[in-house]
């Protein structure tokens, strides 16, 4: 609806007011009886964004349930908000060699740009369409790798298995 200044000039004040309100009323009545409203009764009803939405991060896991991340630090290097903190360590498995002992994202600093997802060479971090994040204290906003990989919303705590599976990766030597 665009407010037309010449509505008044053409029709005078009263008729102009009527014509303007008519549009408002029609929309209101349509919304009352026809259910194509834009608003939702949140939180009972929820909007589902597409998978391309950049919401809360997830760390993918391998088939055996361990983190896919090799802690190469490319995401934390690339991160414009510098909110990713990784501590790497030796892994007992020689094929894996390096794995994170701690992977933390400061959610309050994160700008959800998705650069970490782009930088990751092993599909270990993704942004999901989860947008519900709330917390009180600042500490609650630092998501550790348990939350990032194994929170309830991800396959009931089992985590999301990355599609590139390890045997394939080793075969390809990616």
């Amino acid at each position: 609806m665009i407010l037309k200044a010449d509505l008044y000039r053409e029709h005078g004040f009263l008729k102009g007011l009527y014509l303007g309100l008519k549009i408002t009323m029609m929309t209101m009545l349509r919304n009352l009886f026809k259910h194509d409203r834009m608003t939702l009764n949140y939180p009972e009803e929820k909007y589902f964004y597409s998978d391309r939405f950049k919401g809360k991060h997830v760390l993918t896991v391998k088939e055996d349930g361990t983190l896919r991340c090799t802690s190469c630090m490319l995401c934390s290097t690339y991160c414009p908000a510098q909110c990713i903190h990784i501590v790497a360590a030796d892994d007992s498995d020689k094929e894996v060699e390096k794995a994170p002992v701690s992977f933390e994202i400061e959610m309050l600093r994160c700008v959800f740009c998705g650069f970490c997802e782009e930088a990751c060479p092993v599909d270990a971090i993704r942004l999901t369409n989860e947008y519900e994040m709330s917390g009180h204290a600042e500490q609650e906003w630092v998501a550790d790798h348990y939350e990032l990989a194994f929170r309830k919303s991800l396959n009931g705590g089992r985590g999301i298995v990355s599609t590139v599976d390890d045997k394939d990766r080793l075969k390809l030597r990616l």
Binding site: M73, E97, K98, P121, V122
Partner: protein, 477 residues
């Protein structure tokens, strides 16, 4: 002055020492030539075939590292022929490379990465499976070997053969099954130089392993304080502290190398037990204290200072200036010799980094620096004394220092000025005060030759003003 010869490289006239090789001449003149196996501190092997050049009148390209400079030579390495030669060679080097850069510690300073960006053929033509070799081998002395990443440049085998003469490493088998083999665990005292000279990620440091990615680090050029040699080193550090020490080429002192003991000199700097502020000892518990309160307890007491040999020339001068005119006694604690006097390469038994500077400063100020003077002072300590002990930064022999502390215990007020970790032995002191470590101060130390070696302050360290001379002024409170 050595004789020079003139040659032309890519149309640019350069000068080189007569008898030196072409590659060295180019590198000395700032011309970029890709190379892996050539290292100025080692013999020429000519195995990597990356430094190919063309010479006028010579039909085929040849490796420049194995060619001697001659007067009037006209050499090029920017021709299409050379470019394709380097590209093909690099392709060959990368045939069996596992490409585990995300995991590899060398990533960011890797020769393969650097040259791949310049000379890489980006599409792989390999249809066969890669040859796999053993990864994650601990070959001793803080060195990790990954045989897969190796490009067989033979720098490491030449190092153990020529520099340390211990021959622990060798190349076994042929073709793409050739790999670096360890016939015994590394045993030489210079093993971690292997990590530095390895152009790829085959040899990495166990100490530095997975601590940081190298692109997060900045390097500060300073001097090693591990012994009196005073090797030129660079310390990699960032806001989280120091992470590793590497040697810098210094013709007069250390050449290309440094010893393994020197690799550990950074550890006390960012140690979690490092003292941050003035601390008071209350029945064995160290609690933060107020400096003014400590000064108040010193009133009417006779100040005695026991300095360490790790201070800079400037610090000694400032200290003696600060205590000038007072009745303070000053003695010098010298670290005991450790191991052989000189091991033939770099390591020296005398572990005092600035003994010559200390002696000169003591003599200039009219104090006695000898052990006899220290013994005399320790013998005369009474309860009315306030003894300041400057703790040496690196204590190779803690027991020797403990005997000193035992003798100090008679004094009424015992104050330790510590640049390093809070050692358990410091429990007998009343107060602990922090002083800057070698990474937090600018200055000079005199090495075994009497040559001035520069210490440079690190990038991200805090307060450096409260050095020993600051506490020296307390004598006049």
């Amino acid at each position: 002055m050595t004789e020079k010869v003139n040659l032309t490289w890519n149309g640019k006239a350069i000068q080189a020492e007569k008898g030196s090789n072409l590659l060295k001449a180019a590198l000395d003149n700032g011309i970029e030539v890709a190379h892996y196996c050539y290292h100025a501190g080692l013999s020429v092997a000519g195995v990597c075939r990356m430094c190919m050049v063309e010479q006028d009148g010579v039909p085929r390209p040849f490796p420049s590292c194995n060619a001697t400079c001659g007067e009037g030579m006209v050499v090029r390495n920017d021709t299409p022929k050379i470019k394709s030669a380097v590209e093909t060679t690099l392709q060959f080097h990368l045939l069996n490379h596992p490409l585990d850069c995300p995991v590899c510690d060398q990533a960011g300073e890797c020769g393969l990465q650097d040259y791949y960006m310049k000379h890489g053929v980006y599409d792989s033509q390999m249809i066969d499976k890669k040859v796999h070799k053993e990864k994650v081998q601990d070959i001793g002395k803080n060195v990790m070997l990954d045989a897969e990443r190796c490009i067989l440049c033979s720098r490491c085998t030449r190092f153990t053969e020529e520099v340390t003469k211990t021959n622990e490493l060798g190349i076994l088998n042929r073709g793409d099954h050739a790999e670096i083999t360890v016939n015994e665990q590394l045993k030489n005292d210079y093993a971690q130089n292997l990590v530095d000279i390895c152009p790829v990620g085959a040899l990495t440091s166990k100490d530095f392993r997975f601590k940081q990615r190298v692109w997060f680090l900045e390097e500060v050029q300073t001097t090693c304080i591990g012994c009196e040699t005073g090797c030129a080193v660079k310390v990699s550090e960032n806001k989280n502290g120091a992470f590793r020490v590497k040697p810098i080429y210094d013709h007069d002192v250390n050449g290309h190398w440094m010893c393994d003991d020197g690799r550990n000199i950074y550890k006390h700097v960012s140690s979690p037990t490092r003292l941050a502020s003035a601390t008071e000892n209350i029945n064995g518990l160290f609690v933060p204290a107020d400096e003014l309160a400590i000064q108040a307890t010193l009133k009417g007491k006779k100040a005695k200072y026991i300095l360490s040999t790790g201070l800079t020339v400037g610090e000694y001068a400032n200290f003696f200036k600060a205590i000038k005119g007072s009745k303070a006694e000053v003695a010098l604690y010298t670290l005991p010799n450790l191991g052989v006097e000189f091991d033939g390469l770099l390591k020296r038994g005398d572990k005092n980094p600035n003994l010559r500077g200390a002696k000169a400063a003591f003599e200039a100020a009219g104090f006695d620096h000898t052990q006899a003077a220290l013994d005399k002072m320790l013998g005369s300590i009474a309860s009315s004394d306030a003894v300041f002990v400057v703790v040496p930064e690196i204590l190779y022999n803690e027991d020797h220092f403990n005997t000193l502390i035992k003798k100090v215990e008679k004094a009424g007020t015992r104050i330790a000025l510590t640049p390093g970790e809070t050692l358990g032995t410091l429990r007998s002191f009343n107060y602990l005060l922090p002083v800057p470590s070698f990474l937090e101060k600018n200055g000079e130390i005199l090495n075994y030759q009497g040559a001035a070696r520069t210490l440079r302050a690190g990038l991200s360290y805090g307060e450096t003003s409260k050095d020993v001379s600051y506490y020296g002024k307390w004598v006049n409170v």
